[in-house]
């Protein structure tokens, strides 16, 4: 998959969110860009950092997610916040979402992440967030690099596209 990246365009993405739904846009764009010969660098910070853990347990919550509606019995259902806050509802929404992902042939985040690594997408973990949330490097994927804002800025200044997700 690795080809000559001479004159290649480049993209940086700051990944700040780590829920099952928000994990998709950065990984879809990173893998697709890499497939289109774009050099990609992803910087994982705050809640996005969890997406680099060896073992993922991603979840999605309807709580405070007013635009979230799930297909149900031919229509769409929205969950009132007072229901979303009940114990077990996050788990239920997560299983529903994972079921839909499987049924509709959407890639899992694990698969997209692996595809990103195989296509030489650079993944940088924010060292400050590692310290702040007390993560250990042994919790994280082996091919992750560690750096801070200056590392990101150096990449961003050279990139054709910079995204914050």
């Amino acid at each position: 998959m690795t080809e000559s990246l001479e004159n290649a365009k480049s993209m940086s993405i700051i990944v700040t969110k780590g829920t099952l739904d928000w994990a998709y846009p950065p990984f879809i764009l990173a893998t697709t860009a890499a497939a289109m010969d774009v050099k990609v660098s992803m910087f994982f910070t705050f809640y996005g950092l969890g997406l680099l853990k060896k073992k993922l347990n991603l979840r999605v919550s309807p709580l405070g997610n007013a635009a979230m509606e799930m297909p149900m019995m031919g229509g769409h259902m929205r969950m009132p916040n007072i229901v979303g806050m009940l114990p077990g509802v996050t788990g239920m929404a997560t299983s529903m979402m994972k079921g839909m992902i499987k049924k509709k042939g959407v890639a899992s985040i694990e698969d997209l992440r692996e595809a990103a690594a195989l296509s030489d997408v650079q993944m940088i973990a924010c060292q400050m967030t590692m310290d702040l949330f007390e993560y250990k490097q042994s919790d994280m994927l082996d091919d992750v690099e560690y750096g801070g804002a200056a590392t990101y800025m150096e990449n961003a200044l050279k990139s054709d596209i910079n995204l914050y997700i």
Binding site: M1, A35, M36, K104, G105, V106
Partner: protein, 75 residues
């Protein structure tokens, strides 16, 4: 007849593109790849992919359900 066939039926964005890219990588320059997909978004996506990467979209057809693309790997 394409040199290689990729069955991407039932797969959703971005998997048909990712798998096509991988398959193209195994072909020599000028080699052809036939992609079968059911994702309606794949029509625009394969056009954009080919315009951007220099691989040629030789042919496109569909039977209303399955979209068929023939790609030729860039030299």
């Amino acid at each position: 007849m394409a040199d290689q066939v990729l069955d991407a039926k039932g797969l959703n964005c971005p998997l048909p593109i990712l798998k096509a890219k991988k398959a193209l990588g195994t072909l020599p320059a000028g080699g052809t790849l036939e992609v079968l997909a059911t994702d309606p978004g794949s029509i625009k996506d394969f056009e954009a992919f080919c315009r951007t990467t220099g691989n040629e979209l030789v042919e496109r057809s569909d039977d209303g359900k399955v979209f068929r693309f023939i790609l030729r790997r860039a030299a």
